[in-house]
């Protein structure tokens, strides 16, 4: 990392010898290239390394977006950064051509999606507490799968026997579901107003919403986790 950072310092970011228009094009090119080359959303901090000090990244992004109009992919703002994404109307075509991809991991099952949602709302929460919310034990495999997908990570340890790690959602989770922050979770305000954004209350009073029943049912809607949520941007 250190070596790469040093190599970047040598990059001429100000480009003072170019006329303004060419300079702008070069910056646009660099920004788009960096975003294109990255598998993850690229933060402003990263992009700031390849453009001049007085260059407005937002204007650069706007110009790139303008150029991408009509293309099958676009620049979206997710998880505090920018990422190239194919537009969702091409999802069927991509799926028909290459499937979900050999590299794409197993998609979430209904109950995994519910567990993930529960973690998102009530984090940090341990596997044991999740089990009490759902009224049945949540297997380590479910947690393991969510973890391998990068949706959750270890949070603080719970001060209970065994000191289990709690689970918290990650940036990947936000990015995958096109949320910018946890505030974008569906109906988070309703839960807040009902004072339900606390697992303590939840565990003490039992779960008033019908979620526990949904967990065991095979069908039922999993609206919040529909993959083809409208993409931001």
């Amino acid at each position: 990392m250190g070596r790469r950072a040093r190599a970047k310092e040598e990059l001429d970011t100000e480009l003072t010898d170019l006329p303004p228009e060419l300079r702008w094009r070069e910056w646009m090119g660099r920004v788009e290239a960096v975003i294109f080359a990255s598998p993850e959303p690229v933060t402003r901090e990263t992009l700031a390394r390849v453009v001049g000090r007085d260059c407005s990244l937002d204007l650069i992004i706007d110009d790139i977006r303008e150029e991408l109009r009509g293309r099958p992919y676009e620049l979206v703002t997710v998880a505090g950064g920018w990422q190239h994404r194919t537009k969702k109307e091409f999802a069927d075509a991509i799926r028909a051509a290459i499937g979900l991809g050999a590299t794409a991991p197993k998609p979430l099952s209904q109950s995994e999606a519910l567990v993930l949602m529960c973690i998102a709302y009530f984090q940090p929460i341990t596997r044991g507490e999740l089990g009490r919310v759902f009224g049945k034990e949540i297997s380590r495999d479910v947690i393991g799968h969510l973890r391998s997908l990068g949706f959750i990570a270890a949070g603080p340890r719970s001060p209970t026997p065994g000191a289990p790690y709690t689970n918290v959602t990650t940036k990947t989770f936000l990015s995958h579901f096109s949320f910018e922050s946890l505030r974008d979770l569906p109906d988070i305000e309703l839960l807040e107003d009902a004072g339900l954004l606390s697992k303590d209350i939840l565990l003490a009073d039992g779960f008033p919403v019908d979620l526990g029943a949904d967990a065991t049912a095979v069908e039922g809607d999993d609206e919040p986790f529909e993959r083809d949520e409208p993409l931001a941007g």
Binding site: T77, G80, P124, P156, V168, R183
Partner: protein, 269 residues
């Protein structure tokens, strides 16, 4: 309160941490979360250094950061604030940061400047109350020329007042007045807290010569600066030895066990 905020005694770090904790607990409640100070402290100290403390813990993280020297550097605000408060780096945030930078650099009434930046932040980014309050404390610290900011306003401001600040006109004095009152209350609370901490610190220092163990001096130093400390193994001593040290400190009345639990205890002044 001014001399306390200027002092760079180790105790002032503990003071800021405690204030940050109290402020974060109020903000967590405002945010619809129900973590209290004890829960936030648990989230903070019972995690590995690199792990995410969760949404409530992230508020605490932002407020502990507020009291650090690095938080005062305007050049870093755009990036650190977007990360800390999970905000998009857009024109609105850039606008808020520009206003904050300008206000921080100018002279004049500190409280008025804090009120102004909070109102500006709420106008541009209405959904992030923590951002507005964080910047208010930072701008205040700049105007007061404190070496580090002090977490103050978030613990005392009424939410309704902050919301009303958005619509207020230029001549409207309701918000600046509410802000000044909040700072007055916060300063009183902070001064009392400091006086209390000084008493506790003196008791700890009085007990320090009676301590044995290789780690005792280092631990006393940590306890003077840190909000809480788990009884884990140190670099040179065992888990058991630290535990014994804490038990002795508690029996001497020099530190408190903060959680009231029989396991996963946290000790502090």
């Amino acid at each position: 309160m001014d001399p306390i905020a200027r002092s760079e005694h180790p105790l002032s770090f503990l003071w800021r941490d405690r204030l940050a904790l109290a402020n974060a607990a109020v903000l967590a409640r405002h945010g619809g979360r129900t973590e209290d100070e004890a829960a936030l402290r648990d989230h903070w100290y019972l995690r590995r250094e690199t792990d995410d403390p969760g949404p409530g813990g992230r508020i605490l993280k932002a407020w502990r950061h507020l009291g650090e020297r690095a938080a005062l550097v305007p050049d870093d605000w755009l990036i650190t604030l977007s990360i800390r408060f999970e905000l998009r780096c857009d024109d609105a945030l850039e606008g808020v940061v520009t206003v904050a930078t300008k206000l921080a650099a100018r002279q004049g009434s500190a409280v008025a400047a804090a009120a102004e930046i909070a109102a500006a932040s709420m106008r541009l980014i209405p959904h992030s109350e923590p951002l507005a309050l964080w910047l208010a404390d930072i701008v205040l610290a700049h105007r007061m020329k404190w070496p580090m900011a002090v977490p103050l306003i978030a613990g005392q401001i009424r939410r309704a007042d902050l919301r009303a600040a958005v619509g207020a006109g230029a001549g409207d004095q309701a918000w600046p007045t509410a802000c000044a009152e909040a700072y007055a209350r916060a300063a009183a609370v902070a001064s009392d807290l400091y006086a209390d901490l000084v008493r506790r610190a003196n008791r700890l220092l009085a007990a320090a010569p009676k301590l044995r163990g290789r780690d005792a001096d280092r631990m006393v130093g940590i306890l003077l600066m840190e909000d809480a400390q788990p009884a884990g193994a140190g670099k040179t001593v065992s888990d058991r030895s630290t535990r014994r040290l804490f038990e002795r400190l508690v029996s001497l009345g020099a530190v408190r066990e903060l959680t009231g639990r029989s396991a996963f205890r946290l000790y502090g002044l």
